[in-house]
Subunit: 418 residues, 2 copies
């Protein structure tokens, strides 16, 4: 990708899509954002908003023009519902690549009610499928880079390293002969409706890669942390989203907020859940690397694990407590999951291709100071608790405390499995 | 299921759903059909109709009342689009079981155009997901029996018997220690968008069984053959659907039609594709057996292979040619698939639970005489050829012959992987 290429960023107004769009535009590529702004509408539905003062998409784009002299296009389009609009955009713009961030991405939000489950399944499945069907119909040769999640693997694989998408297995034969060796899509075990939609996406990709020779890269991403990239920092009007609410805020951001406002960091269960993380800056770089290394037509879907380190939740809490002086408190877990799990992940592809990871230990302090403390006054602390419960039994057995004001200080891992 | 139970049949106006509804009503159960009659609308879209003179749903139901003294209820409802209607039906009727046939089920139809792909994905995924979400929301304990397909397994598993849904694999460890043994959902390899939707269904089921302890049985069904059951034969107004067109007609029905009208049976490619079959009567009995043997709450999805014999397409053609005196002709294959494949399938569960299979060799002659020849005059022979092509290359390379009249006599295996 030394050349200038045309790239469409689906979901380019979101937390990952916006810095990715700026980075790729900064590299000189011709970038167009497609977004239906649904994430902003969900903020209204939940009565929440980004801790950081994000601007409207038009203001963002004109600020970028002003600051960089570069133009990013914008199409207000629902890719799940407006197939014709998507197709005609592809035919008009003729992108070499599409980066697909445009999905409902919060696990707790996806579990809130039947309506939220249905919205998540329909939005995410149709968004992905419309894109694939439109590329086939357009007859253009477009590389699709999709943001998937580490959460499709499921956790707790005893002592085994999670490979990059595909697993070598041996199938015993009936006649006591040699085992048959096969490489299969890693068996999935999603922990929420949201994660399940990423499993469905995998099967859509596998089919279109096989049947139509579409070139697809699926990035199995860990939980993003960090808020700023060199581009978003150039002007406050370019600032990126920081979610800290019980639905969209990741565990890390919510710890950061609690630390910033002097609340104890509340850890669910034993805090023994291990999760994979990657800094926003590294995500942006990974997307670029993925764009530079497309699969050939006819090749199976390329799957990269996009994460740089793993941590247990209680260790994270301790790390932030250390930096910020906050205390740590343990509370019951609203998720249906095992209390403790190990997580070992292969992430060689990106490292070999030149990724230089930003580590939590170097970056966290900056986050506490330059994001959480700086904008703490904008925070609505009543939005921090996670109120989504995973099952009917959990809803029936909901502890009193989950409904009361004291909850303001509660920290959840609900948003962990990004 | 010795007792009378309340059973909802989703898609109960269709080829499988109708005889299943009659059979279960005949057994004394309280049966309600939910159907949006989309299959009849698709007949209009394609300009086709059932070879057999099927009646409207209201006439069917009143004929059954007259003949049997039994009442089958009917709700005209789109389960993919009318979630509230589905939920309120469940709350009102409080079924013990739901049999879910309500999906777009033709592989060639699902490949016709981007619109058909999108319809199939959205209809099937939303139908299944709405059902699962509605059951959770209703808080009723309902056993879901779903009709899946043998086609999710993909074909060509070298010498290995296809197990019932789950595969034992060994995962080599890195440290040269013992392999880890695991049982996983059989790796899928769907051959069309339609088949892919059944793969998506599997992941929806796995999630809801795990997260919400829903009780689900998924029947991986072979290609149905045969038209009549003892109930549909009681009165001509109860007659079942017989599809012979290029989209919905299975290979067998289309051979039967060709034989009945004196055309050569055209086999695609070498005719070396092996497929699994089951008679309509046995399907109905399998559904009953599945209803009698639900999984416990908290158990994983029960998967049964619902097929009784496998045949190569050329052997089928020869069998029918023998019975009917027709000749056999070979033509190019419009599908993207391997020319020859073996297929060995485990189907012990149903046999152990008492299924007595009807074999092709006993039943085929009846079909030629009592269905194909009897209604041959109603046939529109121009509808027999399969016109859906799987990929852009195939569309570009479409042989002249696929567009001309001579095609009337062409036989396709497009509808094979039922
Ligand atoms: N944030 C994380 O920690 C994380 C971790 C792993 C994977 N991911 C994945 O990365 C992607 C982006 O995540 P994010 O954190 O930026 O989420 P986000 O919600 O901030 O951004 C998603 C964007 O997509 C848009 N969108 C959603 N549905 C759309 C539709 N139908 N048509 C057009 N636009 C639509 C939204 O308006 C939003 O701007 C998601 O697919 C997510 O699953 C994120
Ligand atoms: N026929 C076969 O050989 C075969 C083989 C394997 C599996 N199956 C499966 O068995 C099931 C039934 O197949 P069939 O041959 O009876 O198909 P069919 O098309 O004759 O019947 C399906 C019925 O479902 C209804 N339907 C579809 N979408 C609906 C919706 N959204 N809401 C309400 N009703 C809806 C249709 O109107 C139709 O009456 C399908 O799921 C199919 O995949 C069939």
């Amino acid at each position: 990708m030394g050349d200038i290429v045309k790239i469409a960023i689906l979901g380019g107004d979101g937390f990952c899509g916006w810095p990715a769009a700026l980075h790729l535009s900064d590299q000189g590529h011709d970038v167009v954002i497609l977004d239906n702004l649904s994430r902003r509408r969900i903020d209204e539905e939940l009565g929440t908003s980004s801790l950081t003062p994000i601007r409207g998409i038009e203001e963002r784009l004109s600020a970028w023009r002003e600051v960089s002299g570069k133009e990013i296009g914008f199409e207000h389009l629902d890719i799940a519902r407006d197939y014709e609009g998507l197709l005609s955009f592809l035919q008009r713009f003729q992108p070499e690549a599409v980066v697909h961030f445009a999905e409902q991405r919060a696990a707790p939000y996806s579990m809130k009610s039947a309506g939220h489950k249905r919205y998540t399944v329909e939005n995410n499945t149709s968004a992905t499928h419309n894109l694939l069907a439109a590329i086939v119909e357009s007859e253009l040769d477009i590389h699709v880079v999709h943001l998937g999640t580490m959460g499709v693997y499921g956790y707790g694989t005893a002592g085994m390293k999670i490979p990059e998408g595909y697993l070598n297995v041996e199938v015993p034969t009936e006649d006591e002969g040699d085992n048959i060796s096969q490489q299969i899509l890693y068996p999935s075990n999603p922990g929420s409706i949201y994660h399940m939609t990423k499993v469905l996406d995998q099967h859509l990709f596998a089919f279109y890669a096989k049947n139509d020779s579409l070139r697809i890269t699926d990035l199995h991403q860990g939980i993003i942390w960090g808020t700023h990239t060199p581009q978003t920092e150039r002007d406050e009007r370019l600032i990126n989203r920081f979610d800290y609410d019980g639905d969209y805020g990741t565990v890390l951001n919510r710890f950061l907020m609690q630390a910033a406002v002097g609340y104890p960091l509340t850890v669910h269960g034993t805090g023994g859940q291990t999760r994979a993380f990657i800094h926003l800056r590294d995500m942006v770089r990974c997307v670029e690397i993925a764009l530079e290394n497309p699969p050939a037509a006819g090749e199976r879907v390329k799957i990269f694990n996009q994460m740089t380190e793993t941590h247990r939740v209680r260790d994270l809490a301790n790390l932030i407590a250390e930096i910020s002086g906050a205390s740590v408190e343990m509370v019951p877990n609203p998720r249906k999951e095992s209390a403790e799990n190990d997580l070992h992940v292969v992430n060689e592809t990106f490292l070999k291709l030149g990724l230089k990871p930003t580590t939590l230990s170097e970056g966290l302090l900056v986050e506490v100071e330059e994001t959480a403390r700086r904008y703490a006054e904008r925070a609505d602390l009543s939005k921090i608790p996670a109120r989504s419960l995973w099952t009917a039994e959990q809803i029936a057995g909901e502890p009193e405390s989950l409904a009361v004001e004291s909850l303001i200080a509660e920290q959840s891992v609900d948003a962990l499995q990004r």
